[in-house]
Symmetry: C2
Subunit: 183 residues, 2 copies
Amino acid sequence: MELAVLGLLKEKPMHGYELKKRLAEQLGAFGRFSYGSLYPTLKRLARNGAVEMDYAKGETPRRQNVYRITDAGDALFAQLLDESGPSVTEERNAFMVRLPFFRYMKPDTRMRLLEGRRGYVQLRLTKMATSMKKAKDKVDSYTEALERYAVDEAEHDIRWLDDMLEAERRNGNSGAPTPEGAR
Amino acid sequence: MELAVLGLLKEKPMHGYELKKRLAEQLGAFGRFSYGSLYPTLKRLARNGAVEMDYAKGETPRRQNVYRITDAGDALFAQLLDESGPSVTEERNAFMVRLPFFRYMKPDTRMRLLEGRRGYVQLRLTKMATSMKKAKDKVDSYTEALERYAVDEAEHDIRWLDDMLEAERRNGNSGAPTPEGAR
DNA sequence: TTCGTCATGTAATGGGTTACATGATTAC
DNA sequence: GTAATCATGTAACCCATTACATGACGAA
């Protein structure tokens, strides 16, 4: 959430309501963003100096409370992008929420995430194949539908990730040095 | 989490470790289940009398602490399945986690969920189409990839849900009465 | 004897969810 | 005038995440 808010504010200053709309529009498929978490997040970020409001301190206008990202906010955002650990590659939503901000990443962070996600999805696919062979015929139609869904999605994801990886290598010049034995 | 644990325990009594493995196997693609939430959940369920352990009270054996669902647990499970509100149709993972337990639902609860989810996905699809037309050409390739992913998924989901709905109507005899004008 | 995996938990921390509460402005 | 939507927040409650801590058992 913090990350998404900072990323959107990097584009341009906005007030909470607008932020909420942008979040719903762009990331609505990969997470829910309610006022109950948005405003506290904004408050927290303001407390830490990552964002600032444009109205004179002291007053609390009821309307259009615009937030602007600060240098500290920029730094925090960069750090959040860079620190992305296993939870980002293992949770689809966490991964997807970062996608619109890939352009702010260093090329090798991008590669790390894409490859990390691909590896994870591939691993899941293997595990699913194994466990489905074991439990074969013993599942009802709903579980079967779930399994089919999960397998289809994993295969689709891998194709999709491969496309992105290829595009990344084509123009991006990766960031990873040429592999050892490849000269 | 509670729901998933109860659902698995309905199949047969299990200890925590086994439960964790089953969760990872069947639902790993739609949520992460760690010991840090599993054991507290089990504890909570035990406190509320929804599950019971098989060892003599007082002792705490270090090994194979088997949990069994009680009648109260059955009731709680049924209630959780039936109460599924908007969050279940709006959050893919919440929906998917329920899928293996559809067979325990009343036919009309099943229909409600399937139709609810379909409606929600359809709505998202429409909204995405609108907002993409507005922001056309102004998005970078990563955002574009995200949008394509979201649209593809939504379309796939609708086909998948339609298949399930059709199957449901074919044999299930729905539970919904024949529509008014259809005689 | 050491590695993997079986097996069970706790503690702190933090953040999300739901529901509530309020009021201005715009369009019909 | 009234409904929709713009706009901002708070409070309580709960639960998930992460990291930590421990130890037995089986196989190599």
